[in-house]
Symmetry: C2
Subunit: 286 residues, 2 copies
């Protein structure tokens, strides 16, 4: 293990699950958890892996991170951006800071602006999650086999390698990618599906939804809207920090749905079947 | 068992799964399967439940159904409508015919137009399915705990009760509903989600989707688009026989997505969070 003491800022689903896996993979690693809420800290103090406490130390204060040589920021994206400025004052020279936020350009830019040259920031984004948030939903092996995007700035290659080794050790798959390409891809593969599922839930479960309709909810609707239960503040930040990429994706979906609407209105059987067949083929090939 | 011989027209996912459950629930029942394709009939002849053949008889001809006192039509909706006219010539006086199509108004109207007064038609729609179609995907207990809509015409209450007993015996939950209410509800709970998932798959997995993007596909996208692999011809028929109900549902979704787009464009954090919170609350309450 290339690091001696690891800080985790934000003890929700992602930070808590990460702590489980780091403790299991590195019994000697000191793990310092930082959270704002007292009940979160009390719950975190109870966590064990194989009988051993997950956290070496827990605190509400960033000053507890003064000796950490690796810090994961596991809060919503706009909070990450604020906390980078706070960490600039407490992180030790030589420390590596990373995050798990779902958008990367604004976080990378904020790190450049906030951090001194002797602190290295590497953007991170594990493609893993659950519908429920919070420390209570945290679990071991959440990241197993998940792609973990790493945005490594020029000159930070050695730190990037050391971080990639940690990520590999907990069973995830580090993939280097630049922040722009990352944000463009996840706008389509993650952010647009979330907005779509939430919009669909709002329409179907709105004013006219009643007990009779509830009996006609089947697995298809449950699957299609499953992600819509995600934590609103987290998704608000994701969307607000990737607006320019989500906008054309949303426009493309609205245009596609308008084609479907026209086909339905015109009773255009061949076109409808072609739209359905294309979707079945593309989704089936995944 | 109130019926002696049951016919099943169409041996795909729904017809095949129904045959498994009927054989398991009623060892004495004669089950006659009718399908167009020879390979389907050959595969059906091999099916067993607890060592016993599922089908008593298999045929490509409707004439094999002349002694059936209960007939399930398990084909796409527009085929059901055609086959009702063919069954009018072969079904025995007193027979009860039902179906498993996902829309009910056009099927009910076709039955009234096609069938003589001494044959009873009761519309049916089990809220169950899988992404894959065909007899190879058929399985026992597909209908366990599923709501099974029954549209019982005035005067057919006794036959409706007998059919409901059969449905209850295979573990499903019969629910009487009129065809108009049924079609209005499933436009929202089933047809709109299918169109949405298919449209999303077409947009995300379109021209620019490549091997790099594939690494950033996570469970959320898979869930949201899972139903899009459904059999295109079946869904074409469903959509074409419920156009007037699907159109306003699609319009409502496009309007909702336009609200999201405006919120994204304007960077309207409170409105975005409100939209997300409404969706999380409504979906979470299911």
């Amino acid at each position: 293990m290339a690091f001696r003491q690891c800080g985790i800022v934000g003890l929700g689903l992602l930070g808590g699950s990460l702590a489980f896996d780091l403790r299991a993979a590195f019994p000697e690693l000191e793990i310092v958890g930082v959270a704002r809420r007292k009940d979160t800290l009390l719950a975190a103090a109870e966590l064990r892996v194989g009988g051993a406490p997950v956290f070496t130390e827990l605190s509400r204060e960033f000053s507890a991170l003064g000796n950490a040589d690796l810090i994961f920021i596991c809060t919503p994206v706009q909070t990450i951006i604020q906390q980078l400025a706070e960490l600039a004052h407490v992180a030790a020279p030589g420390a590596v800071i990373t995050d798990v936020g779902s958008t990367k350009r604004m976080v990378m830019n904020a790190a450049v602006a906030a951090l001194p040259a002797n602190i290295t920031f590497i953007g991170g984004h594990p493609m893993a999650g659950r519908e429920q948030g919070g420390l209570g939903a945290a679990m071991p092996n959440l990241y197993l086999h998940a792609t973990w995007a790493l945005c490594v700035p020029a000159g930070a290659e050695a730190a990037g390698e050391r971080l990639a080794e940690v990520i590999t050790a907990i069973g995830a798959q580090p993939r280097r990618i630049d922040a722009c390409t990352h944000d463009e891809i996840v706008a389509l593969t993650s952010h647009l599906p979330h907005v779509t599922a939430a919009a669909l839930a709002n329409v179907v479960l709105g004013g006219n939804f009643d007990e009779v309709a509830r009996q006609f909810i089947a697995g298809g609707f449950r699957d299609t809207t499953r992600v819509a239960t995600g934590v609103p503040e987290m998704w608000r930040d994701i969307i607000l920090t990737n607006r320019d990429q989500i906008l054309p994706a949303l426009d493309a979906l609205i245009t596609e749905l308008a084609h479907w609407r026209d086909a339905v209105r015109n009773g255009d059987a061949p076109y409808l079947e072609a739209l359905l067949a294309t979707a079945a083929q593309r989704r089936g090939a995944l």
